[in-house]
């Protein structure tokens, strides 16, 4: 696992052909690692019949609502489970 709780990370903003589980509303956004989950099979390759190995680290990343939607109350957060290969160090 590259990241630890509290680390600032930026979600990659790259075009992706095919199945992936990084929502568009988070691409390019910066958040903070809230939880380090275990590693899981890669849905991007499993979706095409492969075994999804090696497993990839998964994190719960927390975003400030106002960074995603300008009108959101400053206190609110949106969190999502994102795979490590979609996250860049933003410290």
């Amino acid at each position: 696992m590259t990241f630890a709780p509290g680390d600032m990370v930026r979600v990659a903003d790259r075009p992706h052909t095919g199945h992936h589980r990084t929502p568009g509303y988070l691409k390019g956004k910066t958040g903070r690692i809230a939880r380090v989950h275990a590693a899981f099979a890669n849905p991007e390759t499993r979706a095409y019949g492969a075994d999804g190995l090696p497993r990839l680290p998964l994190y719960l990343v927390e975003f400030t609502g106002g960074d995603l939607w300008p009108s959101a109350p400053g206190r609110d957060r949106v969190c999502a489970d994102l795979f490590e290969h979609w996250l860049e160090d933003a410290e």
């Binding site: 992706h16 199945h19 568009g24 988070l26 849905p43 499993r46 019949g49």
Partner: protein, 109 residues
């Protein structure tokens, strides 16, 4: 092997934003909060899909990919289990388990 090699020849959509990727999608439609009991065929569709997964015939990610390959209008018009039917047919045809036209032929029989 690159993703594009997997994608080549598969049912798929390369779009800026997938039809299924709905977080923050502009909408005026109210949230319909009525309860809906699942119809027999919907329970059956759910079960078929899960049994296929249990037997290693199709996995969850293939199932999702199939749904994501629906054209936008079809995705939005379909009910939840109609999408499951679509992906089951699509992926099983892709894997050669169902032949094109086989379901229609059975319905006409």
């Amino acid at each position: 092997m690159s993703i594009s090699e997997y994608v080549n020849g598969r049912y798929d959509r390369a779009m800026e934003r997938g039809v299924h990727d709905r977080g923050g999608w502009p909408t005026d439609t109210p949230i319909d909060r009525r309860e809906h009991e699942l119809a027999d065929w919907e329970l059956r569709m759910d079960a078929i899909e899960n049994v296929l997964e249990q037997h290693g015939v199709m996995n969850t990610d293939e199932m999702r990919r199939g749904i994501e390959s629906m054209p936008l209008a079809a995705y939005e018009a379909a009910s939840y289990y109609e999408r499951w039917l679509f992906t089951t047919e699509t992926i099983l045809k892709e894997k050669g388990i169902l032949a094109p036209g086989e379901i229609d032929a059975r319905l006409e029989a």
